[in-house]
């Protein structure tokens, strides 16, 4: 099981346990876990509505790509710890990380 923590917009935290090898990205897992995420573009790193901020850990995550940086740069609220959930594969690199949901709500 891969465990990581999600903090919602109200600051409530929940630890998610996801089976290994599930082949989903974080945006898809958040949607499936009933988090309110727009994900307008469906995972193409184009809309930035699945913006998350890494609060803790995250050192092993796949590095941010140029396409992801381009779109993060358009976000007024982005920080140096910002990522797009749709670009993060849910696998062992995510273990122990805490993400805060920052993207716009429905």
């Amino acid at each position: 099981m891969i465990q990581f923590t999600i903090e919602d917009r109200r600051g409530e935290r929940q630890t998610l346990e996801i089976p290994e090898g599930i082949g989903l990205n974080l945006m898809e897992v958040l949607k499936a876990s009933e988090y309110n995420i727009l994900a307008t573009c469906g995972g193409m790193a184009l809309c930035a509505t699945c913006h998350v901020e890494i609060l803790d850990g995250g050192d092993s995550l796949t590095p941010v790509s140029d396409a992801e940086l381009d779109i993060l740069d358009t976000l007024p609220s982005a920080t140096s710890c910002s990522r797009l959930a749709c670009q993060l594969r849910v696998d062992e690199t995510m273990l122990g990380t805490t993400f805060k949901i920052r993207g716009e709500e429905h």
Binding site: C41, M44, C47, T49, D70, D73, P76, A78, E104
Partner: protein
Amino acid sequence: MITTDICIIGAGPVGLFSVFEAGLLKMRCHLIDALPQIGGQLSEIYPQKPIYDIPGYPTIKAQELVDNLMLQIAPFNPSFTLGERVETIDKQEDGSMIVKTSDATEVHCQVVVIAGGLGCFEPRKPEIAGLEHFEGKGVAYMVKNPEKFRNKEIVIAGGGDSALDWTAYLADIAKTTTLIHRSDTFRGAPDSAEKVFALAEQGKINLILQSNVVSLNGNGHLKEVVVTGKDKNSYTVPSDYFIPLFGLSPKLGPIAEWGLNINKSAIEVNTLDYSTNVERIYAIGDINTYPGKLKLILTGFHEAAMMCQSAFKFVYPNQHLSFKYTTVNGVNAF
């Protein structure tokens, strides 16, 4: 007033294909979209992305699909109102409807079809204290009429192409032009970024990097913006107008106020014909929801065809609808 049979709200792929299906049944269409161009998400968000699940096309770029749809519906001569958001739908005594936009365009129609995708694309608003308070009093989210900014003190925030381009453009018009960007590099078009750096070197604009606008001050009208730099120190920059340019984001907008059953930002429909709870109003494509809904262009095309078969009775109440294949009947332009 524009008069038509079907008023389609949303000029994305599903709205466009509705014109074809309506045209086969001799129903005329007028389309309205909040964006200044047709194509919806496909043109606005991912024009160059290949799509692989359009039947008959192993791969097609999003913009190509939009262009092809325009060719396909050309025989039915649709009309368009672009760059205007639909605000209200008023039912008339005879059952017909009048659709009104933000710019007071009025469309009289027998049927309204909402093919609104994710809603209206609206400017993304940064989290800045006092921002909404100064909307229309110094805060603008787009440059509609550059002359408004002549000899004024302008502050632009953002790092994308529109922030770069408007900074360069307003440098010649405004009294002062300041661009404030969170990072020290720009990821917009390299040419635009170079131009802005050159203007800063020439002293024609103020370029403030690695900084954020954190709050706005003024008395009735905006007077200054408060900027925080990398060193966390805050200072003010005089500003008649503040223009945050952070792209567009979809919002349901006025659709939520039309008396339709809404579930999680989507309109509930009857899968028999994709009608809503309000007679003569249909919802198709990504904007609708029903058990088993798949948000695919493919699904939206199917919904468009089914919707037209049902809408026919409102446009031609005294006629019997007989289904005909295009292979038999061809496409009869009007």
